[in-house]
Subunit: 395 residues, 2 copies
């Protein structure tokens, strides 16, 4: 008589990320999640745009009523200009995860296999669970998703419905997919007839190196390109978007209309007002945020080099919200290190939580530090506490 | 190489409601959808609550960040008091349709059979499509869902995963489920081990007759009770809630966290501020709205009696947003009537769109008028245009 659907019975307990049952000691410095710095979010402009909305009688009346499933026209047009695509190809979502879910439900058959980044953003596996738990882990190298590896697996007979990757400032592995491999991945998808689910929430947050472009993604009819305002205007809005191939627009709109009708008209109206207030406003928000994240990334990297010289192999981030250093001393037990660090008052994500292939032990040698919402003082203190947790460190 | 999932391939074109390809003539009076009257939505209070939020530094900072998948605590507590349940059993949703989708995905096995109202709110069938298209239509009588009919089908061997009904001011059939049958339905579910998905968006909008209560639903561990602020604060918020049996709370939170993380913190923060501003504010909003809807229902019923005497069997609504009159003259072709009415400048929903059992022709003898967002003058004019579309009416 227990009549839960097999879907809800079968949903694996979320893997990835510090266990929900783990409670960091009070006062612990949390380097846990890719949360935008509160001071990087445009509080004043939000208050103004919101006040303007409610003062504008017609716009206010529209904001509390139903609106089209595809999203607000002005917002889609603004997004389409930035993505350099036709606005018809944009569907507004309730943020990045919702975009991933829509992508999965649209192109992943129940029980199908999906190639995923290894290490992988665990949230994608949670979304994927709605359709399948069968994955084909593909290593993420210094220049991103290993397209050659996937090509080899496909040549050897593997069949996949989709491939999932974060191409810019990978979570957790920092890597960005090279321009060449962007084209290679898309060509592979076109040749084999699978879809690429491109998850791009950090794309705007570049503070070093060269932009790699997204035209390869947006020009292919085998790519669902997922993005969100979460990292720039805040996760609380739950407003994101999909860039879809023409032939997927109708199926996705139909599906999302059935799931939840449309994204809040209120949040769309405010976000639309924000981004369209002038041509440079959004770029300004992104610029201040990246300035802040560059500083924080720098402080963290410097502190690790200074206080724990040689303890990690570190690549300086070129953008995004994460540092993914590798422990150089193979005799260190990362679990024990984490417990000592937590006892000392600093918590982060253990690399093992991001392993797509549990047999693959390389992720477990990494730590993921999220630096975006911590001040330079906190970051320095966090590394001090971490250093004290290392064998021989003073506790 | 077409690799759409069978879900997205299989989604039936939405049935129910005026065809999307149908374009009413310009100037037509639309009696199409259960849309709250703009003047019934508390514009001033919304502007104030929103301004307060963005002025409150801590609350504003929280509103643009992530928040718990289950929903804002203060909002859940307020809802729980009105539902007379423990706040742990409340999960905030992105509105009623999202609540229905979560309910379906949680308790309806793929391909399972679900008993549904006949006539039925077509939106539920769209949500249901995500899991199954197998339905067992159950007639909606003057006192609601025919529990005896379902009991008979179950006794004869039918097996269902869930039963779906709108218990208060049924869409489209106006009926409210009697107090006795509320208990009867719940007992049947408990005995046979299925879930009842109770869809209750109109519950607050009673303007005549006696409240029937929801304790029978909220006290059973076989009921998912779905509600929303759509009809009282506006559809644009996309904020609703589920009252869940204890054992479904965790599965639903897990599932919804995977689908889209959480409902917008911004909309929850504003709605929470609105409803908790004082103990009687929300009741006042509901009272003004129902006063308006009572007047409009009355105008519509009176106009039909006056201008089309005897043409319909009409029950005066006791609440909600719809009138479901039945054509008394069996020689009238409802499709032809609709086309003439549309040509005359009035559109409504044809009864046939709500038939859960396409063999059952009784729904097709009905018209569904949505009166909530039309003024008395518009309603009178609408009936004048309708009258002119009747055989013998002057065109």
């Amino acid at each position: 008589m227990t009549a839960l659907s097999s879907l809800s019975r079968g949903l694996a307990a979320p893997r990835g990320f510090v266990d929900a049952s783990f409670h960091p000691p009070p006062g612990a410095i949390r380097l846990l999640a890719g949360i935008p710095a509160p001071e990087a979010l445009p509080a004043e402009a939000i208050a103004e745009a919101s006040a303007e909305l409610w003062r504008d009688h017609d716009a206010a009346a529209a904001a509390v009523q139903y609106s089209p499933a595809q999203g607000f026209t002005g917002l889609r047009e603004w997004i389409a200009r930035r993505e350099d695509v036709d606005p018809r190809r944009i569907v507004v979502t309730n943020g990045g995860m919702h975009g991933l879910t829509l992508a999965v439900l649209t192109v992943v058959e129940r029980g199908a296999t999906v190639a995923v980044d290894d290490p992988v953003f665990p949230g994608f596996l949670w979304a994927l669970d709605v359709a399948t738990t069968r994955i084909l882990p593909v290593p993420v190298l210094a220049d991103g998703f290993d397209v050659q590896h996937l090509a080899g697996r496909l040549a050897a007979g593997a069949r996949i419905a989709a491939a999932y990757t974060v191409p810019d400032f990978h979570n957790p592995a920092q890597a960005s997919l090279s321009a060449e491999k962007r084209h290679g991945l898309v060509e592979l998808a076109e040749r084999h007839g699978f879809y690429v689910i491109v998850d791009n929430p950090y794309r705007e947050l570049r503070f070093a190196g060269q932009e790699l472009g997204v035209a390869a993604f947006n020009e292919s009819d085998r790519v669902i390109h997922v993005n969100t305002f979460t990292k720039t205007l805040g996760p609380g809005w739950r407003v994101g978007w999909l860039v879809l191939p023409e032939h997927l627009v109708e199926p996705v709109i139909r599906l999302r209309g059935r799931l939840d009708v449309h994204t809040s008209s209120v949040t769309q109206a405010i976000v639309e007002r924000l981004v369209t207030r002038d041509d440079h406003w959004y770029d300004g928000v992104v610029r201040s945020a990246t300035r802040l994240y560059r500083e924080r990334a720098g402080v963290l990297v410097d502190a690790l080099h200074e206080q724990l010289p040689g303890a990690f192999e570190i690549r300086a981030p070129e953008g995004g919200l994460f540092l993914w250093p590798r422990l150089t001393d193979d005799s260190i037990d990362p679990g024990a290190l984490f417990r000592r660090a937590a006892a000392n008052g600093v918590v982060y994500q253990q690399g093992e939580f991001f392993a797509a292939d549990p047999e693959q032990l390389s992720s477990a040698r990494h730590l993921r530090f999220a630096y975006s919402d911590r001040t330079p003082d906190e970051l320095n203190e966090a590394v001090r506490r971490l250093a004290a947790a290392f064998p021989g460190g003073s506790r």
